[in-house]
């Protein structure tokens, strides 16, 4: 498995074509845009060859791609008049989790999402999307606000995990995650989770469960990062690729296990090649799923939410 090529090498041709499209989009001459569809077809053709040979580790690389759309990009596209809420009212404000309200398709929706940061400076500021307890407490605060006003909650999941730091432990990282899970289990409003990139363990779970979990085609959701798993079980970083394979953490795996409700297709080359197409795909599925949930009574939703997780697990009983 060591000769496995980096995804960044595989996608080179596609990236060049994408840059061409970006250039054409900037042009003032409308005729230039007519050149875009044939280039898109070329991307599609290239992708058809690459896609079948992608390994789970490649999927991880796509999910973590530095050019991949992040929470704030989705909010820009999906919402009107998004207003961000800050602070957990106890200890601070966590820039790794963005929370707030916006209009989505004609109704108010609370959004909660991990934000990784694009530039080095932003990444440090956002702690690479790894929340501290105050992030989870802020998220819960906003969920409760949504419940108060009767608005649905949509979460966007994209984190390597909860931050493993001294202060995080002092302020109760584990308890903050646990408390969110317990509270989510009885939140009266509809709650939909969309895994847009990395679904890193408890750090993702604390805002990553609800009535329906949707996953982008090349995202993953896992109990541990493949690197962490390789270090602990194989005691060898070279086993990362094998760990990624063994953990079965791709969207299609979770679908098969009955954990998620929908897989949202990504454009050829992955979400970062065509933001707009990605947003359109997310919008379409999200709206469908939300509408269906909104038509149910809170009691029915809570019962189904409990049952959804109640039945997850594989064991035998004689």
């Amino acid at each position: 498995m060591n000769e496995e090529k980096d995804f960044y090498k595989l996608e080179k041709g596609i990236v060049l074509l994408k840059e061409k499209i970006d250039g054409l989009l900037l042009s003032e001459d409308p005729r230039e845009r007519e050149k875009i569809p044939p280039i898109k077809q070329k991307i599609e053709k290239k992708w058809e060859k690459i896609r079948p040979n992608l390994t789970p580790l490649h999927i991880v690389q796509i999910a973590r791609h530095p050019k991949r759309p992040y929470t704030m990009d989705y909010l820009d596209y999906l919402t009107d008049d998004f207003m961000e809420m800050h602070g957990d009212r106890h200890a601070g404000d966590d820039p790794a989790l963005v929370t707030g309200f916006g209009f989505y398709r004609g109704r108010t929706v609370a959004f909660i999402g991990h934000q990784k940061g694009r530039t080095t400076r932003q990444r440090i500021e956002r702690n690479f999307g790894q929340p501290n307890p105050e992030g989870y407490r802020k998220a819960l605060r906003v969920m409760k606000l949504a419940e108060k006003f009767g608005h649905p909650v949509v979460t966007l999941i994209d984190t390597p995990g909860a931050y493993p730091g001294i202060k995080a432990e002092e302020q109760g990282q584990a308890g903050a995650i646990a408390y969110n899970l317990k509270e989510i289990s009885r939140l009266k409003i509809p709650m939909v989770n969309v895994v847009i990139g990395e679904g890193g363990s408890g750090g993702a779970l604390a805002v990553g469960v609800g009535d329906a979990i949707l996953m982008l085609e090349y995202s993953f959701y896992s109990v541990i990062s493949p690197e962490g798993c390789a270090a602990i079980l194989w005691k060898d970083q070279k086993a990362t690729s094998q760990a990624a394979l063994s953990l079965k953490m791709e969207a299609k795996d979770l679908m098969e296990m009955g954990i998620i409700e929908k897989i949202i297709p990504e454009p050829p080359g992955g979400a970062h090649i065509d933001f707009e197409q990605t947003f359109k795909n997310v919008d379409k599925t999200l709206n469908q799923v939300l509408k269906k949930l909104e038509s149910k009574s809170p009691e029915k939703r809570l019962e189904e939410r409990y049952k959804k997780f109640r039945k997850i697990g594989v064991f035998s009983e004689k």
Binding site: E169, K182, W234, M249, E317
Partner: protein
């Protein structure tokens, strides 16, 4: 414990084994709390050490066909032989101070007390039984966290178990969480931190991330006593740190207070 004499893991003193056993597996010299099996735990908690095991027919599977340096199915078999347990938790019911209770006790000897589908299911069943029969629930946690070999199925047990103990809130039934050395990862990030009261044995390692992971992340040495019971008490995460010899009486007192049942 096959020999007559043993050395304390903490103070290194050579001790007569029977002295440790009759002292609830606590070092008579330095108060070091030896790790208990689930069976030992249940027998020191229930009245006269008498209880009935429940949910005994549930066994783990290997849903991901997981292979690291060893097959998961092989690991399970080895752990079964080593511990005579089917998985890392025992559920039991019986009396404490004359009160009917349900207790689930995790066993670190079975794959580090890790939570996969079976642990998640049994914790959930213990909570559901408590709800159905209107009994208080006690969970004694001792676990390295979620079981990697069952992948995301293990991760989802965090939500499953947290949802189950949430039911007891609405029903007005007590749930007491007892954390013993060590309780980390996904177990701390779910039911173990969700007790109406959370208590711990002295000097137990309790945290979300393991100390090694934190050290590697921040590239600093961790302060002394970090992530130990007393540290958590100081930071408001626990109600009390209770010596093992007082644990049973502490639990009975708390249950009596919550249930308004004076002795």
């Amino acid at each position: 414990m096959d020999y007559l004499w043993t050395r304390c893991n903490n103070c290194r003193r050579i001790l007569y084994k029977q002295d440790i056993v009759s002292n609830n597996f606590v070092c008579p010299a330095c108060n070091f709390h030896f790790r208990l099996t689930a069976i030992e735990r249940l027998s020191i908690l229930f009245d006269e050490g008498k209880y009935t095991l429940i949910d005994q027919d549930i066994s783990p599977e290997d849903p991901l066909q997981f292979v690291d340096n060893k097959k998961y199915s092989k690991r399970l078999e080895e752990n079964r032989k080593k511990t005579s347990l089917k998985d890392a938790v025992l559920n039991a019911r019986g009396k404490m101070g004359g009160l009917d209770v349900v207790i689930a006790a995790l066993d670190f000897n079975f794959m580090g007390g890790s939570m996969g589908s079976v642990v998640g299911e049994k914790i959930t069943r213990a909570a559901e039984l408590a709800l159905k029969e209107r009994l208080p629930l006690i969970i004694v946690s001792c676990s390295g966290g979620a079981r990697m070999q069952e992948g995301v199925l293990s991760l989802m047990q965090l939500m499953k178990t947290s949802s189950a103990v949430a039911l007891l809130d609405e029903a007005g039934l007590p749930y007491i969480s007892v954390l013993v050395d060590p309780t980390t990862g996904g177990v701390t990030a779910s039911f173990a931190m969700l007790g109406d009261i959370n208590i711990a044995e002295p000097n137990a390692l309790i945290g979300f991330a393991g100390p090694r992971v934190i050290e590697q992340t921040i590239k600093e040495k961790l302060p002394k006593g970090f992530q130990r019971s007393e540290f958590l008490l100081q930071h408001g995460m626990l109600d009390s740190v209770v010596d093992r010899k007082n644990l049973r009486s502490y639990l009975i007192r708390a249950l009596r207070l919550f249930l308004n049942r004076p002795a």
